[in-house]
Structures are given as structure tokens and as C-alpha cells.
Subunit: 114 residues, 2 copies
DNA sequence: CTAGTTGTACGATGATTGTCGAATGAAAGG
DNA sequence: CCTTTCATTCGACAATCATCGTACAACTAG
């Protein structure tokens, strides 16, 4: 087993037919994670460190894992960076209009009506 | 203070403009609570003990409180019973098409596609 | 009045969660 | 080779959560 072929452990992503709605709702019920999703709606792909959230790097890694294992985001390696993207099409395939309804609701509620 | 006027404490319900989306997502990310919501979509109003869930009464009370404080359900007293209803219109007013997207997604996922 | 029904309140308990700091690893650049 | 950058893993911690059993309160029915 040639050591030169060693890589970091491959990231696990569920298939769309494995998505669990309750896992997705739980993943989106956290303000930091919702900010991540909202940011990814504006930018197709981002490096981990470029999200406008104010938590420690290890905490951010935790939130990415929750979103990734629920099927909300996809991550890929590129050298030193880990790029993150929304799985918009997969989510739309499995749960049509769900993500849009949630993110729209979130953004409409950021400034609560008086 | 006439003792004859004593009542059980009035149930607190948030106004639609106080609804917090993240609280609602958290409330709906539990299988027992999602079953409650799903059941209420079929029946407008139900007594507490008539929900097809398999938890202890005190646990059920806990779940009702979470849903009520998030704005998902409304409860009213009637003699010995406590009646529970979905706040469908209030939810639609504050977060249009949200509840429908979520419950539809939940029901579509109950029998996972092969 | 007494007994049964309906549902809550309280306390306990074990599991999960969000947070962080320190240590680690892998890649890029000097 | 050494240093910096990027992000992870691990362990710890306090907070929250879902669950239950017991006790209790309010109402209804006999």
C-alpha cells in the first residue's frame, strides 16, 4: 500500500433518496447553519473560512458536518481548501419547493414586521 | 379574591409577528410533533388524548407546549378537555406556503422511494 | 359525596447539542 | 527545510432536550 496515495478521508454525502426531512429541518433550525445556507444561495461555492459567521473554526466544521449529513450541502477537496456548495437540485428533486419556502421565510423574518 | 373564580392558567400563544422561523423548524424536526401536525391537517380540532402517538401523557404535554410556543398550534380549554388545532392561517400569513411545503415533504418521505 | 377521566406540573435521567481550545494533518510558499 | 495557512479531530463543558413516573388539579358522572 503505497503511502504516496494517502488522502484525507473521503467526504460522505447521502443520496437524495436517503434524505430525511426531519434531519433537514433540524439542520436548518440553527442560526449559524441557516446563515451558511443563506450565504450559499447567493454564492454557488465558497471556501470554509469565508462565511460571515462568528464561531470558532472547529464549531464551523461541526455545522458543516450536520448540513452535509442531512444532504443540504456538498463539499469537495481542492488542495488545502474545502469548497462548499448547496445541493439545490438534489433537494428540489426530493422535496420540491421546500428549501425555497424555508429560506424565503427566514429572510422575511429577519426584520420582524411591527 | 373569590375562590369560585379560580381557573387553570391561561394558555399563552404568540402573535404571528412574533413567530420565529427557527423555533418553528425546531418544533417540526421531531417525529412525534410532526405526527401531531400531520394529524391536525386532517382533523381541524382534536382532544389531547386522541393523537396516534405512542408516548406518555406528560411527554405529550411537553410536545404540545413546544408546538404552541412556536405558534404552530392553538389550544383552548373546554371543561375537562383541552382542544388542539393547527394555526394554519396564522402560519400562512407570516410564512406563506411554508407549512404546506414541509408537511407535503414529510408525507412524501414516509415511504422512501426505492 | 365519591370515583373515574383528562391532562398538567414537577423532578429526575440519559442523550444530544453547540461551543470552544489544543493538538494534528495536509498543502503551499518561503 | 521551515513556516504559514486551512481545516479537521479530539476531548471537555454547559445547556438543552425527550422521556418517564409520580403527584396533583379540574372537571364529569355515578
Amino acid at each position: 500500500m503505497p503511502r504516496s496515495q494517502r488522502r484525507r478521508p473521503t467526504l460522505v454525502h447521502p443520496e437524495p433518496n436517503e434524505f430525511d426531512l426531519l434531519d433537514i429541518l433540524h439542520a436548518l433550525s440553527d442560526p449559524t447553519r441557516m446563515t451558511i445556507v443563506q450565504t450559499l444561495r447567493a454564492t454557488p461555492e465558497r471556501a470554509c473560512g469565508t462565511f460571515p459567521v462568528d464561531v470558532a473554526p472547529s464549531t464551523l466544521t461541526h455545522h458543516f458536518r450536520v448540513l452535509r449529513e442531512a444532504g443540504v450541502i456538498r463539499q469537495r477537496e481542492d488542495g488545502n481548501r474545502r469548497w462548499t456548495a448547496l445541493r439545490g437540485e438534489d433537494l428540489e428533486t426530493r422535496f420540491p419547493s421546500l428549501l425555497d419556502a424555508i429560506v424565503t421565510a427566514y429572510e422575511s423574518g429577519l426584520t420582524p414586521p411591527r
